[in-house]
Symmetry: C2
Subunit: 243 residues, 2 copies
Amino acid sequence: MRAHGSLTERLRVVLVEPEGEVNVGSIARLIKNFGVREFYIVNPKAKLSGKAREFAAKAIDVLEKAVICSSLDEALKDVDVSICTSAIVGGSRDVLRHPITPKELANIVARYSRIALVFGRESTGLTRDEIGKCDLLLTIPANPEYPTLNLSNAVGILLYEVYVAEHASPLYEVADRNVLELIMKYVEDIVRVFNEDERKASRILVSFRRILYKSLPSIGEAYNLLYLVRKIDVMLRECKGKR
Amino acid sequence: MRAHGSLTERLRVVLVEPEGEVNVGSIARLIKNFGVREFYIVNPKAKLSGKAREFAAKAIDVLEKAVICSSLDEALKDVDVSICTSAIVGGSRDVLRHPITPKELANIVARYSRIALVFGRESTGLTRDEIGKCDLLLTIPANPEYPTLNLSNAVGILLYEVYVAEHASPLYEVADRNVLELIMKYVEDIVRVFNEDERKASRILVSFRRILYKSLPSIGEAYNLLYLVRKIDVMLRECKGKR
């Protein structure tokens, strides 16, 4: 099987008997936020109107197009792999509750074309029978003293994890090395004006270089810094000329 | 400065003029889910009663202990670094809006002792003035067609990201190599019964070995598989004996 489509496009979010309108609406919004294609709801206990529409915000169309199913089997039809979620992790003998992590999820999604992510009821989660119908179980790591996430937050974290697996690149373009080296040239010039001894000067320059490159400056940030150091250099030379 | 404490314990979540009760309550719950220590609210527009208490679930104590401030400056007092969030990313000239990613956040949190994560209003976010008061800006990558996450989902994703940076280990103990090799021994035995030619047998065994080790089986899963292959082996030998 050759997997295709962007990672979140391959997902089908399946809610089993969701009880809260706010959650169903928030999840519709998340589905649009992360570009998921399919939204299935098995026997909704919550109304898909009212608060659901309010919390769907600009994703009311997602809510309206949700596929309503009468059973989990129906919702899992035609998927390549199904992954259900639970906050309850089992002991070593309870293999039904040996979960994978969200980080492992992205690897799995990358290999299949149609992946169902199944989420249980707010009150009681999924039954053992429902967990048994899914191929894999996933748990979101959290504080053992209170590990149960709100439904919409659990969905949000998983969709985010899959989304960033594909879009992990930085959100801005890093400045070109030429610009950074031009900055360094001015800083060298400035340090020369200080007349520090060689070792001290070298330590200052190394420190500046390290900070500059570690900061991964954006093009705009770099040009503003270039403007500053050039200005300082010019002013220092003028001062020196006057003395 | 020596940073100390678990990563999420170092965080202070700061909400600026939150408008929705559901969000404030959900965020209190997230704070407990991920073991964050400090929760500050600047001029809450939402009531901290009603829906806020309902959505806080088992974290009503977090809601009750929230520190109410009258200004962002007050909420940022005594922190080592402040990071605000926005869905709006600027062009190359607007350095105020050059963001870091959530993955970069965990690195930063690891280096400081007290970190404020600042979140703006649901309706209008943070003002440019407020963004300017923070040391760094962060954006959660999302679908460019609708990148604005619900407030509580944005908080959840960031707290999760910091939490897993520290607790990234698998959630179950992987079975010992001895057990897996015992499984392989039985499978070899089984394949021998089939009387396949050498090359075919070797391909089957390599495939089984690969699947077994890639699956990182839990102790329970491995012992169940061991039980199965041992049983098959015994039954096949019995069959053979009878013929």
